[in-house]
Symmetry: C2
Subunit: 159 residues, 2 copies
DNA sequence: TCTTTACACACAATATATTGTGGTTTATAA
DNA sequence: TTATAAACCACAATATATTGTGTGTAAAGA
């Protein structure tokens, strides 16, 4: 590992610790030549995860894009950014473990909705209104009624 | 290091190799639980390198910004992208090894010009015309004359 | 098509990173 | 102001990653 100060490739590890969620390893290194110290991170080199859109076109799975959608749905709902990032993390893990390489966009939407519902119902409805592309106010209202009907059974998985 | 497929934190290294320029280490890992394999990269966690602009304001050193400037200066000069990336890499190494944490923008410009001149004189002049903010055509021409005068003594450092 | 380059895979010997423990400092939150 | 969390530091015992060597394959360029 090349030293960022002098460019020599010979450096030694002084300390190495996994990050809290074990998604990366932080190492403290020291250059054998100039004795300067620096920090490195070992992270997963993303294997491409392809999303199949409704029109059949493919594109790469994009953290940021999904996060943006969640942030929009969660406006003024006072939910920390970290909660959304966590959700996206769970989502990706779920996708990678269940599917192989390509995932229909609708499956992603369904997973998000399932998770979102347990976090915030307002955000859930907002997200659904975009994702399901409700054709009119009636369809929107129907979804709301559905939720209100089930609100009593908190924490229950709907059949 | 958490497995991206099943989420278990216990994974083993199968193979590890430095990249060509030794700026990173690629590891091939295998999950102890699900036996899936994946690739990781250990890279330097950038320590912030601050640029002091002419007006005194500070901002973070930005690879991309400099690369863009070089690309612009090198338009139609048929120089591979990799050459510019290499230049930016050398620049950053130089900055980190000579200065401490903060570098005047002008020093950066000077280093770039010095390197640029050895690569392509047209790109050099274009870059200089922006960086030195030549006030008029005369100043521009003076710089060109300067270069033409020294063109014979190839590879020589100007006094 | 042929060549080159990059990545994946396997194996064995040895050097080196890891891990726990514990202390310090710094920044952020309460 | 006082907690709390991260990052940094040190040390020692041991497990684990590294390295060379070599094969195969797929992608990219000539």
């Amino acid at each position: 590992m090349k030293c960022p100060y002098c460019g020599e490739p010979d450096t030694r590890v002084l300390d190495s610790r996994a990050t809290q969620d074990s998604s990366a390893i932080r190492r403290r290194r020291q250059c054998v030549s100039c004795a300067n110290r620096f920090t490195t991170m070992e992270k997963i080199e993303e294997e491409p995860l392809v999303v199949i859109k409704r029109d059949g076109r493919r594109e790469l799975f994009d953290h940021g894009k999904i996060l943006k959608g969640l942030l929009l749905a969660g406006q003024k709902r006072n939910i920390p950014l970290s909660r959304w990032e966590e959700l996206v993390g769970e989502l990706e893990l779920e996708l990678r473990s269940s599917y192989v390489k390509e995932v229909p966009a609708d499956s992603i939407g369904d997973i998000i909705l399932k998770k979102l519902r347990k976090i915030d119902e307002v955000a859930y409805v907002r997200f659904a209104s975009v994702f399901r592309q409700f054709p009119d106010v009636e369809a929107f209202k129907a979804e709301l009624d559905e939720i209100l009907k089930e609100t009593g059974e908190e924490g229950q998985e709907p059949g």
